[in-house]
């Protein structure tokens, strides 16, 4: 086995694992850049994973379009699910962390509750027959090693990278982005120049829900092919970590998500090469988390959150 193949496989798997995290971290980015803490990414991913699986399951007779419809349905469900978080933290000025925690509980409960109702008491959806197939970019995918690594992936992965770029453009090149960031840094300043702070935050939180849900749906529609109580199991929190790790920047968040992805891919690789003889499996499982802490402590250090993050905005007009 040559190392080029290993590397190629590793990159390929890294992208598979990172995609959901990229979506969710970007979701968190919108919300937090607007000043609303989003610890509910986990819950939003759960709702996305659930909706994606159920809708696809229901319509999978329609063929390969089914996962796409499931995916879009997930995004819509995510945006709607994010609404209570917006109402609580923006309109009712609730503690955003508390509201987020509530949503995480709600998602975990509701999704499995509904699953059991829909699937006759079963803790998971039936296995989907129609899920996303990997795409190969014509021409590029044939490049030795590199093609498999970079140009053969699920459509959601390509989409994720496109959304990273779009987010960067939206945030730093358009007036929507300027306003969104202003609302997250200094809402009063934004208010005094006529920007509707609350509306911006509502939009941001709902985009956040949609993207995080797309992340969740990515998991059910590419890697697990079903939804169960632990389909997400903590990935929303990892995405949140990626967002902070990536300093609330789209490219940074993507980089951090890829980092977690690579650590996950390495985990399987290490076992394949029999390294577990030398290192206990438990330590390999720990690897991504230890690395994250080391990297954060060693290189990243203090990260600067949006200045108004977590602070409800009072217009004074009541």
């Amino acid at each position: 086995m040559d190392w080029a193949t290993v590397a190629s496989n590793l990159v390929h798997d890294t992208i598979v694992f990172s995609t959901a995290l990229i979506f969710a971290a970007l979701g968190g980015l919108y919300s937090e850049r607007s000043g609303v803490v989003n610890i509910a990414l986990e819950g939003m991913m759960i709702i996305g994973a659930f909706t994606g699986a159920v809708i696809t399951n229901v319509i999978q007779d329609s063929g390969s379009i089914a996962p796409w419809i499931g995916f879009i349905a997930a995004a819509i469900a995510g945006a709607i699910f994010a609404l209570p978080h917006a109402v609580a933290s923006i309109t009712f000025k609730a503690d955003q962390v508390v509201s987020g925690v509530a949503l995480n509980f709600l998602a975990a409960g509701l999704a499995v509750y509904l699953t059991k109702i829909i699937y006759n008491g079963a803790g998971q959806t039936t296995t989907l027959t129609e899920v996303f197939d990997k795409w190969e970019i014509p021409g590029l995918a044939e490049i030795p090693y590199l093609g498999h690594a970079l140009f053969e992936a699920y459509p959601t992965s390509f989409l994720a990278f496109i959304i990273v770029f779009l987010t960067w453009f939206l945030l730093f090149k358009t007036s929507f982005g300027l306003r969104l960031r202003a609302v997250g840094e200094h809402p009063r300043a934004a208010d005094t120049v006529g920007i509707n702070v609350k509306r911006m935050r509502y939009i941001a939180v709902m985009i956040s829900g949609a993207l995080a849900a797309m992340g969740g749906a990515t998991i059910t529609l590419t890697t697990t092919s079903n939804f169960s109580h632990n389909t997400i199991s903590g990935q929303g929190f990892i995405a949140l970590a990626a967002l902070i790790f990536g300093k609330w920047h789209p490219a940074g968040a993507m980089g951090a998500a890829l980092f977690f992805g690579i650590a996950q891919a390495i985990k399987a690789l290490v076992q394949v090469y029999g390294l577990t003889q030398y290192v206990p499996t438990e330590f390999i499982f720990m690897l991504p988390y230890v690395l994250t802490i080391l990297v954060m402590a060693g290189f990243v250090g203090r990260s600067s959150a949006p200045a108004a993050l977590g602070k409800p905005y009072e217009t004074g007009s009541r």
Partner: protein, 329 residues
């Protein structure tokens, strides 16, 4: 003071059965781990066994029931719920429930309990275990004979004795049939994470293996996904299923065969024995090839050629006769 036999307001599922069950009708309950009764694995299998029991004996709907645990701490109260409610038999499903079931059995010596996959030493518990290694040996023979790349893989859930039996049996089977075939093994550490299974499978196929045998419960779903994905890309890969005939779930275009573990049969039989008054408390039952407790799925002939199946039968005979002793630990 306790009121153990307190009549429950109403027993039965949603909608309930209004006219209460006949007094003589037997009641059998089971407690699952976090996976629940639809885990495509042995919880589901066990539940199917109870369902079959119900239809066979024409019991009312509420007379078989299950409780799903949400954490380790739930096992004892869940088992106790059935026991204190006076159910005729209470099943604990899975190795991990062993200690908990023992505690409940000791505290309630007049109750009857049974467990799958664990040995519980108590006079009122019947333990049912399977010789997974024997069945897995046959799966190994199929894999070795049918691998074109001379590499096969094994994906395990958590590294517990039960799963170890799968692994060792499989490897022994492979080596017996063709010592030149290499076995790549990965333990994912989970029984319920298909994405981990998929990752493991991807790595193993990436190493050039073309057949993977999994013993990972729901995690194994990911192995099937990865296999299907590759198959649709034209790669010639297979998956060997576990516990149930998984070709029924994932299709026989990817499922080479399955190592079936007849949890449903066992649950059905032991439950029936209890109802018939033939409960053998304290007994530890091992079900292997000889007892038809394990074996390859009947649908194997779809994908496995005649000659290989013949070889499988030969090995089976030798194992049953004791000529081959398959390692279990």
């Amino acid at each position: 003071g306790s009121k153990t036999e307190a009549p429950q307001g109403q027993t039965g599922n949603a909608g309930g059965t209004e006219g209460a069950a006949p007094a003589a009708a037997a009641r059998v309950g089971m407690v699952t781990d976090v996976g629940g009764v639809n885990d495509n694995s042995f919880n589901q299998s066990a539940w199917e066994g109870l369902q079959k029991l119900r239809t066979d004996l024409n019991l009312p709907e509420g007379n078989v029931n299950f409780l799903q645990s949400t954490s380790d701490a739930d096992y004892v109260p869940n088992l106790t719920q059935f026991v204190k409610d006076g159910w005729d038999l209470t099943w604990g499903i899975g190795f991990l429930m062993g200690d908990h079931l023992k505690k409940v059995a000791d505290e309630n010596p007049n109750s009857k309990l049974a467990i799958i996959d664990a040995e519980v030493d108590a006079p009122n518990v019947e333990s049912v275990l399977f010789k997974e290694h024997e069945g897995s040996f046959l799966a190994g023979v199929v894999a070795a004979k049918m691998s074109k790349t001379k590499k096969v893989g094994f994906v395990g859930g958590v590294e517990i004795p039960v799963i170890k039996r799968f692994e060792l049996g499989f490897e022994a089977g492979v080596k017996a049939a063709d010592p030149s075939v290499e076995v790549i093994k990965i333990y994912t550490g989970f029984f319920d994470k298909p994405d981990e299974g998929k990752s493991a499978a991807s790595q193993i196929y990436g190493q050039g293996a073309d057949i993977i045998f999994h013993a990972a419960g729901g995690t194994g779903d990911g192995v099937f996904n990865e296999g299907k994905n590759r198959k649709s890309k034209g790669e010639d890969v297979w998956v060997i299923g576990v516990d149930k005939d998984q070709s029924l779930t994932f299709g026989d275009d990817i499922t080479l065969t399955s190592m079936v573990k007849r949890v449903d049969e066992a649950v059905h039989r032991v439950s029936k024995d209890v109802i018939d008054g033939k409960f053998e408390g304290g007994k530890i039952v091992w079900l292997g090839l000889a007892e038809d407790g394990v074996g390859l799925a009947d649908t194997s002939s779809k994908n496995v050629p005649e000659d290989v199946l013949k070889l499988v039968d030969e090995y089976k005979e030798k194992i049953v006769k004791g000529e081959i002793k398959v390692p279990a630990e």
